[in-house]
Symmetry: C2
């Protein structure tokens, strides 16, 4: 396996639980199910939201959430992040005074796995972002990346009913986050990138989820020029990707994929004929687990 | 095809759009993508939320959303539902005066495809519901239902990146709703059931999405005793189903499924050996499209 910076830990006993039940033949069985637990997020003195999460990286999740909601600015000085396991609370403290009473009053819900996103806010920066025009993605990287991610031991393979997101450089996956909510997985990566100072320009973002407007907006906000998914597109997702000049690659399975925006970044260096269809061992088994 | 009361209309030109792009060989292609459009919901004089939806049943969606958020009571007299296509607005009017200023201030986000749900509210009734203990589900119904749903022409089969929910009686699917947000599909069914006075006790709820806490809570609120999914379980979903006595059937593909709650309602009348594995033509092709 490649040397991930962060990867799933399916053996972590906090993340799954064994439950008993019956199978299709009426036999008693035991299976693993994914845990979800509440995490209440405070920004300085203010309660922002309670999220349901698997709970593995509360600090990254907290920071990434605030960043993606424009409640935290990339240049904000974070003075402390206090996570309290017992009371399931995380407090992010900043040098700058913050007040989001008004913002929290009006929420627009987005499609897919929306988190009650303050959508107008999400869009705030969108039009000002310029993505790296010189970034390239080789099809050989896409194939290698896809294979590595889909064969990496994960909660998904262990228990299903979970989303995955991966930040990659070329064909190497760097950070692989999973969560019950897809946007939590994205936010954990955004938080990691901010706190660990990871540059976005030469990165590829891979997700198991659909390429919705919200997914596109978050990728653009993170300034990552290439977004890849096994899943499909929505019309608005495609529109926004084109507007931002984001390379949008979807329905990536086996040798197949479609590019619906930013085609100029794709370098066709692999011979798809040598790949064939996706072998069943790479198929994400609980495919419909994605919501 | 069985006689659905409501079924997807993949030919509706409002619901998909053709877009051009490139495939894995670098060839120019055209494909269909699912539309998503904003719908702003008012309850009497108050703006409640803006949702992203495919837009096919705004009235059912509006009523189902309000009902599932406990903003509308099942016995409320609805005096009018005014949908305005141009300004993408739907107004639900009730005889009872409503005021949800306070409720809207505090939102708890749930996992999976949460809509910024007022989670505390969602739970309000949960503990008081008693589901029909005499309801039964035959495995032969499950297999037939699954096959019918998966071969019914749908936006999913046309464009992917969409969720489906089905209300069924025995092996007959009655109402098949799709939407970009899974919870929109559920809410459209809830709205339909209220407005068209469909009894829940002898029904089965089938979803393409995961069996999360929120999905379980909504099914229980709708008073449907049996919830079935192709997808997996979360731990809290299983806990809540057991608490409510809901029959929870997941990972249903081909002959296989698991029952993790309410096993006593399942009648094993089919011989799984005669079914084999799921034929690939029944596989939901864009499996990971589900979020």
């Amino acid at each position: 396996m490649t040397d991930y910076l962060v990867r799933p830990d399916p053996a972590d006993p906090r993340l799954t639980r064994r439950v008993s039940g019956r199978d299709h033949e009426g036999k008693d069985i035991e299976t693993s199910v994914t845990m979800e637990r509440p995490l209440t997020l405070f920004l300085n003195g203010q309660e922002i939201v309670t999220m349901m999460t698997i709970g593995d990286y509360p600090e990254y999740l907290a920071v990434g959430y605030l960043l993606n909601q424009n409640m935290l600015r990339p240049d904000d000085e974070i003075t402390a992040i206090d996570y309290d396991d017992d009371i399931e609370t995380v407090v992010v403290r900043t040098a700058r005074k913050t007040d989001f009473e008004d913002k929290l009053k009006r929420k627009t819900l987005t499609s897919g796995c929306a988190q009650g996103t303050v959508f107008g806010d999400l869009m705030e920066e969108f039009e000002d972002v310029t993505l790296d025009a010189d970034a390239r993605v080789k099809t050989s990287w896409l194939y290698a990346l896809s294979k590595t991610v889909n064969t990496t031991p994960s909660l998904y393979l262990e228990a299903g009913a979970i989303h995955g997101c991966v930040l990659a450089h070329q064909d190497r996956p760097l950070i692989y986050m999973e969560d019950v909510g897809r946007h939590n997985a994205v936010d954990k990566i955004a938080g990691y990138m901010l706190l660990e100072r990871i540059a976005p320009d030469d990165k590829i973002f891979y997700t198991t989820g659909r390429l919705t407007s919200e997914m596109v907006i978050k990728t653009v906000k993170m300034r990552i020029p290439i977004l890849v998914s096994r899943s499909g597109f929505t019309a608005w997702g495609v529109d926004l990707a084109r507007q931002a000049g984001l390379t949008l690659i979807g329905r990536m399975k086996g040798k197949r994929f479609l590019v619906l925006s930013g085609e100029e970044r794709v370098v066709y260096d692999a011979d798809p004929a040598s790949l064939g269809e996706e072998p069943s061992r790479h198929r994400r088994k609980g495919a419909e687990d994605d919501n």
